[in-house]
């Protein structure tokens, strides 16, 4: 332990702690700009400087570790003056059109202005860059707003392992982009949007869809259907001042109705459906493998209701995360056969809304407009894929991020905190607890296992509270093994088979598991990949975290929502049974194949 004083107050902290962290313990606030807890620490902006006795120059507190007997002062005239100069320097090359800026009142550069009073006279300087790259359907880069903190560079390179964003040129001409005049829309960018979450200013943000949605809501000829992803309910509240991890499912449904949506559906319904389709696909791959090995006969395959000659590539990898899909298409296209053919849940819901449901309510699918509220910027891109069209109409017409939805609720003048709880509409609104956990890393795998294990053995998954504990949590790669014993009669050929599974979130982890597959060394049969670190709870469209451990709090909220439900396994959802009976036929059947499954494309790295 190390003892030091900051502004005359004594504090004892662990070795390796930075001055900034130690100050936080004493409730001494030091303004920061480039620093981002747990993500980015390069000490470049020098807004966070303090005086350290014995040191000639001011020290950047976000990178300077404490030492025994250190005497720190964070509020001397010298410190305040230095901060002010650094701040004014940033502002001199920044267009200060806050009132018309997308980050107004929600901007870190603006916020530190509360603490540092800059002189207006030193504001104006030559502007170095004015270029808006809106070529991508997901992410917009406004270089004029960039303050060169490089948080996005760290996230894109080190956490996502993609490396689209890097510093180009230097000095006054420096800017952050893909290099060689490559625009985001043409780059091998995954559209994950993680860069938009960490950007302190309006230099990186999602492509706006709120205007399109307002227009659809105002159009009397349109039946406007909305659906919300599992992770929204655990994060939307933060935009209205609730602490992280507050579940606002009921208020969210009411707000959507008040905004004028005609039907409020739940993507959770199709998360349950995904489990049935993907679980069946997994079992069919296993059956095919056993058939190829000569363990079972063709008659047996038929008896199980499965098909012969299907893709039996292992490990099978989940397909719900469109940023992950774009990543593998660009960087590991040779492994595309490993990916499940299931569309992501919101695409399935769109496809069903414009077929099954449109037919039920007697609306021409061309007059239906489907909006998805997603924690994700990559879904904005996903809906533009040519595969996501059935019967000549797009499955989904617009995607709003959680942040955009909050903006629209505010614009609509709805007092979110005052809303009564509402519910979802039927038939695409009922879901089980298995669907809730789709929003967190490990959740899709656990939901799939709850169903697949029970199909094969006739018993519940043998874990306390149905949680597959080894794959719960925020670690990069999590693994588990489940050995099948005492299977039901018709599945007895699987007795003794060990199913090795892996779960990863964030694309660096995906890259590690794909390398194993590429080398033929992957021990797994089933892998869950989510493109964002932590899964959708931390998606590129989620509110920018305002408190520590936000991801964990959102994750726990989803497990709470799951545990609070009576039905916790996808195959127990009564409306899922009904939709197979009335419309889809059987899992992997002809209609499913048309509406719920998709194909992938090989893309270049450049």
């Amino acid at each position: 332990m190390v003892n030091l004083t900051i502004n005359g107050k004594a504090v004892t902290v662990e070795k390796g702690t930075t001055i900034l962290e130690a100050a936080k313990k004493l409730n001494i606030y030091i303004p920061t700009l480039c620093y981002l807890e747990e993500v980015h620490k390069i000490g470049s902006c020098r807004i966070c400087v303090a005086e350290v006795e014995g040191a000639k120059t001011l020290q950047a507190t976000c990178v300077t570790p404490v030492s025994e007997g250190m005497v720190v002062k964070t509020n001397t005239a010298r410190v305040r003056e230095a901060r002010k100069i650094m701040y004014e320097l940033v502002l001199s090359d920044h267009p200060k059109d806050c009132l018309s800026c997308g980050r107004n009142q929600n901007c870190e550069l603006q916020k530190i202005g509360e603490i540092i009073q800059a002189d207006e006279s030193s504001f104006e300087g030559e502007k170095s860059k004015e270029f808006v790259d809106d070529s991508s359907p997901s992410v917009v880069r406004d270089s004029a707003k960039c303050i060169l903190c490089r948080r996005c560079v760290t996230v894109c390179n080190e956490i996502q392992g993609v490396g689209i964003l890097n510093t180009q040129e230097r000095g006054f001409k420096a800017s952050i982009n893909a290099g060689s005049d490559i625009l985001l829309g043409n780059a091998a960018c995954t559209n994950c949007g993680q860069c938009t979450v960490v950007c302190p200013v309006n230099a990186l943000h999602e492509k706006d869809s709120t205007q399109d949605v307002w227009a659809a809501l105002a159009d009397p000829s349109k039946t406007v259907v909305v659906q919300t992803a599992p992770a929204i309910r655990a994060a939307l509240g933060e935009e209205f001042g609730y602490p992280a991890g507050t579940l606002v499912t009921g208020q969210m449904a009411t707000a959507l109705r008040d905004m004028g949506f005609d039907y409020v559906f739940d993507t959770n319904f199709t998360a349950d459906l995904t489990i049935i389709e993907e679980g069946t696909e997994f079992l069919n791959r296993i059956v095919e493998m056993m058939y190829q090995k000569g363990v079972i006969t063709a008659e047996k395959v038929k008896e199980l209701g499965m098909h012969i000659g299907v893709n039996a590539t292992f490990p099978m990898i989940t397909s719900c995360s469109p940023g992950w899909i774009k990543y593998i298409e660009h960087y590991y296209a040779g492994q595309l056969d490993n990916v499940s053919s299931c569309k992501s849940p919101h695409m399935m819901l769109g496809a069903l809304a414009k077929s099954y449901f449109a037919n039920n309510i007697d609306v021409d699918p061309k007059d239906m407009y489907v909006v998805s509220i997603m924690p994700c910027t990559a879904k904005k891109y996903e809906i533009t894929r040519p595969e996501m069209v059935n019967n000549g109409v797009k499955n989904v017409d617009a995607v709003l991020t959680t942040r955009e939805l909050a903006k629209m609720i505010k614009e609509a003048g709805i007092e979110f905190a005052e809303l009564e709880d509402g519910g979802f509409d039927n038939p695409l609104g009922i879901s089980t607890g298995a669907a809730d956990i789709f929003g967190t890393t490990g959740g899709v795998m656990e939901a799939a296992l709850r169903t697949v294990y029970e199909i094969v053995t006739g018993r519940e998954l043998p874990f306390e509270g149905l949680h597959v504990t080894p794959i719960v949590g925020l670690d990069r790669i999590k693994t588990a093994a489940i050995t099948i014993e005492d299977a039901r009669e018709e599945w007895s050929f699987l007795n003794g088979v060990t199913v090795n599974i892996a779960v990863t979130s964030g694309l660096v982890g995906a890259g590690i598991l794909l390398e194993e597959i590429k080398k033929g060394e992957s021990p797994y049969l089933f892998i869950e990949v989510m493109g964002c670190p932590g899964g959708c709870i931390n998606g590129g469209g989620q509110p920018r975290p305002k408190e520590a451990n936000t991801r964990e709090k959102r994750m726990k909220a989803l497990y709470r929502e799951d545990e609070g439900k009576i039905l916790r396994k996808s195959h127990e959802n009564p409306d899922i049974t009904k939709i197979y009976k009335d419309f889809l036929g059987k899992p992997l059947g002809h209609v499913s194949h048309e509406l719920l499954h998709t194909t992938y494309t090989t893309r270049s790295k450049y």
Partner: protein
């Protein structure tokens, strides 16, 4: 691109040969990120400049993002992503040359060749660069064309000097 039409100026290598030489160079440097600058140097020596195809090739072989490679290239002014002319004119703007009219020389050359500093003439004959000091201070102002140094240059004589290289 399997065309064999482009040739290296200095040693007459075909494009394919240039790329395999580059690949060997990357191998010699163990494809290490810490050696990127040296590798880029070699690449520029082989190709004369660093066009996108070369940067992509390096990014692929070194398993580095393109944005990182181009970030390094654009950081250092000694790397050029534009083809160089047959001859490179370097005008010294070190203190001595500057005081004795180096910038007038730059202006005159810009006028004669109709290019800016860092650019190449349309006929690909000349590229124009400026330098900090070429070590001929006693005989300022000086310019260098390829490896030949011209001292005490009179702006009005520039046309004649350049004519030798037409």
């Amino acid at each position: 691109m399997a065309t064999d039409t482009k040739h290296c100026e200095c040693c007459g290598l075909s494009e394919n040969e240039m790329f395999s030489l580059l690949e060997k160079t990357i191998g010699d440097y163990e494809a290490k990120e810490s050696n990127l600058i040296q590798i880029l140097h070699m690449a520029q020596a082989i190709f004369g400049y660093l066009p996108d195809e070369v940067l992509k090739f390096i990014s692929e072989k070194m398993n580095l993002p393109m944005s990182k490679v181009s970030g390094v290239v654009s950081f250092y002014s000694l790397f050029s992503t534009q083809p160089k002319g047959k001859h490179t004119i370097k005008v010294c703007l070190g203190t001595a040359c500057y005081v004795r009219g180096g910038s007038k020389i730059v202006d005159k050359i810009k006028e004669l060749l109709d290019i800016e500093v860092g650019e190449t003439t349309e006929d690909m004959n000349f590229s124009l660069e400026v330098m900090r000091c070429i070590g001929a201070c006693g005989l300022a102002p000086a310019i260098a064309i390829d490896d030949t140094v011209f001292k005490r240059v009179n702006p009005n004589k520039l046309r004649q000097i350049l004519a030798q290289y037409e």
